[in-house]
C-alpha cells in the first residue's frame, strides 16, 4: 500500500503554524482586510483625511464590537451545523433586562449581568432543545423563537426603558489609549471562543457534530448536548452584546437588535470569515476578520458619504464574491 499512494504528507512543521495555514479562508479574509485598509488609506488621503487616525481606529473598533461579539457566538452554532436567527431580538431583550434591573443604580449591575446571562442562556437552551429534541430545522426553530421574543417585547415595551448607571457606561465609552473597553470585551470573547474551539473537548465536538452528526454520534459523542451547548453559548454572546449596547445607549431599547440587523449580519460576517455554512469547517479567527472587514468597509463608506442604498449593493456583492472565491479555492485545492 505504501508504494502506490504518493500522499502529500504534512511533515513535522510546528503544529501551530500548520493549523493556521490549514485554516485557509481565514487567511484570505485577512489579505482582503489588508487590501481594504490600503484602499481606505488611499481614499482618505485623497480626501484630505487620515484613515489611521485615532478617531477612525477607535470608531472602527466601536462599530464592530457588538456585531463582533454576536458573530463569535454565531460562529459556534454554525460550526455545530446549526444557525441562530433569534439573536437580534434576544439582544433587544437583554438590553432591556439589563437596563431595567440596573434602573440607574450602581448596585444593580451585578444582578443585571446575572439576569442577562440567565435570560440569554435560557433562550439558547430553548433554541437548542427545539433543534435537537423536537427536531425542528434550526432555521425555523430560531425564527419561531425570534417571533416569540418579539411578541414579548411588543407586549411589554413601548420604547426605550430602564437606565444604566454611569459606572456601567464605562464599558461602552471608556478606552485605554486607542483601544475601547468594548473592543477589549470583544477580544476577550473571541479569544475564549478560540480557546474553546481549538483546545477543549467541547470545541472538538462542535467541529465533529457540524462535520457529520451521525459520525460523531457513532463515535460516542453526545451530539444533542453539543448542539445545545453551542446554542447556549451563542445566546450568551448575544446577551453580552445586549449588555454592551445597553451601556452605550444608556438604556434598553426594544429595537436595538433588529435595527442593527444582527441576525443576518452576524451570519454574513461568519461566512465572510470562511466558516462553512453547513458546519464543521472554519473558525473564530476568520469571523473576527469578517467583522473587521465589514467595519472597515463601513468606515470607508462613511468617509465617502456613500448613501445606505449603495452600501447594501456593495455589501451584497462583497458577500457573494467572497463565497464564490472560497468555493473556487476549495475546488482547486
Amino acid at each position: 500500500m505504501t508504494q502506490q499512494l504518493k500522499l502529500r504528507r504534512g511533515g513535522a512543521e510546528g503544529s501551530f503554524l500548520r493549523r493556521l495555514s490549514a485554516d485557509r479562508p481565514a487567511r484570505a479574509v485577512y489579505v482582503a482586510l489588508a487590501l481594504l485598509i490600503v484602499l481606505g488609506w488611499l481614499l482618505f488621503a485623497l480626501d484630505g483625511g487620515r484613515f489611521l487616525s485615532q478617531e477612525n481606529i477607535v470608531g472602527i473598533q466601536q462599530r464592530s464590537a457588538a456585531l463582533g461579539i454576536v458573530a463569535v457566538g454565531q460562529t459556534l452554532v454554525i460550526l455545530a451545523g446549526s444557525l441562530d436567527l433569534s439573536v437580534a431580538y434576544l439582544i433587544s431583550l437583554t438590553s432591556l433586562v439589563a437596563a431595567e434591573i440596573m434602573a440607574g443604580a450602581d448596585g444593580g449591575v451585578p444582578a443585571a449581568v446575572a439576569a442577562v446571562l440567565a435570560v440569554s442562556a435560557t433562550v439558547g437552551l430553548v433554541n437548542g432543545l427545539i433543534v435537537t429534541r423536537l427536531r425542528v430545522h434550526a432555521f425555523i426553530a430560531t425564527l419561531g423563537v425570534a417571533l416569540i421574543i418579539r411578541g414579548a417585547l411588543d407586549e411589554r415595551y413601548d420604547g426605550p426603558a430602564g437606565s444604566v448607571p454611569e459606572s456601567f457606561q464605562h464599558l461602552g465609552y471608556d478606552r485605554i489609549g486607542p483601544i475601547p473597553v468594548s473592543a477589549l470585551l470583544w477580544a476577550a470573547v473571541a479569544a475564549s471562543a478560540w480557546l474553546l474551539l481549538s483546545r477543549t473537548r467541547l470545541g472538538y465536538r462542535i467541529y465533529a457534530v457540524g462535520g457529520d452528526a451521525e459520525v460523531a454520534r457513532l463515535s460516542g459523542v453526545r451530539t444533542e448536548r453539543v448542539v445545545i451547548a453551542a446554542h447556549v453559548l451563542c445566546s450568551v454572546c448575544a446577551g453580552i452584546a445586549g449588555l454592551l449596547l445597553a451601556s452605550r445607549l444608556g438604556a434598553g431599547a426594544p429595537t436595538v437588535g433588529t435595527d442593527g440587523g444582527y441576525d443576518l449580519e452576524s451570519i454574513a460576517a461568519v461566512v465572510l470569515g470562511g466558516t462553512a455554512l453547513a458546519g464543521g469547517r472554519g473558525g473564530v479567527a476568520g469571523t473576527v476578520g469578517g467583522v473587521l472587514l465589514l467595519a472597515v468597509l463601513d468606515s470607508i463608506f462613511n468617509q465617502l458619504e456613500v448613501n445606505s442604498f449603495a452600501k447594501d449593493v456593495v455589501r451584497g456583492v462583497v458577500l457573494v464574491a467572497a463565497l464564490a472565491i472560497y468555493a473556487r479555492r476549495r475546488r482547486t485545492t
Partner: protein, 379 residues
C-alpha cells in the same frame, strides 16, 4: 480617557386620563398633560416671521444668546442622520441638501447616515465631533438612547437637534413642528365635526411604542373620549398598505358600515380609501397626511377629508439655525415651527401634479434650486 458624555437628565413620561369606555383603550404611557396643553395652545398661536417661509417662523420663541459660538466663515457643517429609510426622511434629506447648497459660506457638509441603528448613530456622532465641524446637526433615531451621545457632543461643538428630541437641554436649539398631539387632535376634531353622533370610528396606527406616533393617538383618544363617537377598533398596520386594506375590509365586513377613519400617519391612507371603494361603499370622512397620492385621491374622489401634517420643511431649519448660531444671532431655545393642516379649502395649493405619489407637499422646497427633478418630479 473616556468618550462618555456627562450626566443626562432622564424624564420619565407619565400621565393618564380616565376614560369611560369609548373603545379607545388605556391612555398611552407617553401622554404628558403639560406637553399636550402646550401644543393645543400653540395650534391657536400666531407664529412670528414671514408666512411665506414657514420654516423660518417660530411659535412663542424664547431666544437664547449665541455670541459665544460666533466665528468667521467659511463653515463646515456636520449632520448625523437617523436614517433615510422612508419617503418622509427622503424628501426632508433632499430638502436639507438643497438648503445647504443655497449658502456659499458652507464649504463643507459632512453627513453620516445611521441607517436606523442607535449604536451606529452614537458612533457617528462621536466620529463627527472629531472631524472639526463648526456645528453639528442631529436628527436622533430614538430620544432616550441618543441622549448620552448628544450630551457628549455639546461641550465640543454647537449642537442643533431636530425632529425627535433628546432628554437634555444642552443643544443650542431644538427644532420641531408643534408636535404629535396637534396632529392627532386635528384629525380627531375633524371626524368629530363631520361624523354624525354615534358614528363608528376605525383608528389605524402604524406601530406601538414610537413616541411621535403615540402622542398622535393619545391626543385623538382625548378628543374621542369627550365626543359621542364610538371607536370600534384600534388596529396596527405596520405601515403596510396590503395589511391596511385587509384590516379595513374586515371591519367593513364585520360592522357593515364604518363612519370615519382616523390614521396616525398618511402613508397607507389611500389603501384605506380603496378598501371602501372595493367594498362598493362610500368613503367616510378620513384623514391622511400631505402625501401626493392621498391629496390626489382626495381631489379625484371628492373625499371628505383632512390632512394634518408633520412638515418636511423642518429639514431646512437646522441649516438656517446653524448659520445663525455661527454668526452669533439669537435662535429660539425650542424652535416650534408652524404645522398647517390641509383642508378642502387649501387642497388645491398643495396638490402638485408631476410630483411622485409619496412626495410630501409641505417640503417648502418649491423655490429651491433643482425643484422638481431633484425630488423626483417632472415639471
Amino acid at each position: 480617557t473616556s468618550d462618555k458624555p456627562g450626566p443626562s437628565a432622564s424624564a420619565a413620561p407619565a400621565g393618564s386620563t380616565g376614560s369611560e369606555d369609548k373603545g379607545t383603550g388605556a391612555q398611552s404611557k407617553f401622554f404628558v398633560q403639560a406637553d399636550y396643553d402646550a401644543q393645543m395652545a400653540m395650534r391657536r398661536a400666531q407664529p412670528t416671521g414671514s408666512p411665506d417661509k414657514p420654516w423660518e417662523q417660530s411659535i412663542d420663541p424664547q431666544f437664547v444668546d449665541t455670541a459665544k459660538y460666533k466665528k468667521a466663515g467659511p463653515y463646515h457643517l456636520c449632520f448625523s442622520n437617523a436614517a433615510v429609510n422612508n419617503p418622509w426622511r427622503q424628501v426632508g434629506w433632499k430638502t436639507m441638501q438643497a438648503e445647504v447648497a443655497l449658502h456659499k459660506e458652507i464649504t463643507k457638509f459632512t453627513a453620516l447616515d445611521a441607517e436606523g441603528k442607535d449604536d451606529k448613530q452614537i458612533s457617528d456622532i462621536a466620529e463627527l465631533t472629531g472631524k472639526g465641524c463648526d456645528a453639528l446637526i442631529v436628527s436622533p433615531n430614538t430620544t432616550a438612547t441618543l441622549t448620552p451621545a448628544v450630551s457628549g457632543a455639546c461641550p465640543k461643538v454647537p449642537v442643533i437637534v431636530f425632529d425627535r428630541g433628546v432628554q437634555t437641554d444642552c443643544p443650542v436649539t431644538f427644532i420641531k413642528p408643534i408636535g404629535g398631539y396637534a396632529f392627532g387632535a386635528a384629525a380627531a376634531e375633524f371626524l368629530i365635526d363631520k361624523v354624525p353622533p354615534g358614528g363608528k370610528i376605525l383608528a389605524l396606527r402604524i406601530l406601538p411604542g414610537v413616541d411621535v406616533l403615540e402622542t398622535r393617538w393619545s391626543a385623538a383618544k382625548v378628543a374621542f373620549d369627550k365626543s359621542d363617537l364610538k371607536v370600534v377598533g384600534v388596529e396596527f398596520t405596520d405601515g403596510d398598505a396590503a395589511k391596511t386594506k385587509s384590516v379595513v375590509s374586515d371591519y367593513i365586513q364585520r360592522y357593515g358600515k364604518i363612519d370615519g377613519v382616523w390614521m396616525d400617519a398618511g402613508a397607507t391612507a389611500v389603501a384605506a380609501v380603496e378598501a371602501f371603494e372595493d367594498a362598493g361603499q362610500p368613503v367616510p370622512p378620513i384623514n391622511g397626511e400631505d402625501q401626493q397620492d392621498f391629496l390626489k385621491k382626495w381631489s379625484d374622489a371628492k373625499l371628505t377629508a383632512v390632512a394634518p401634517t408633520y412638515p418636511t420643511y423642518q429639514w431646512r431649519t437646522p441649516v438656517i439655525a446653524a448659520l445663525k448660531i455661527l454668526k452669533g444671532e439669537q435662535v429660539p431655545k425650542v424652535w416650534n415651527l408652524p404645522q398647517p393642516t390641509i383642508t378642502q379649502e387649501n387642497l388645491a395649493t398643495y396638490l402638485k401634479p408631476g410630483m411622485p405619489p409619496l412626495h410630501y407637499a409641505l417640503c417648502g422646497c418649491e423655490n429651491l434650486p433643482g425643484y422638481p427633478q431633484k425630488w423626483g418630479g417632472t415639471s
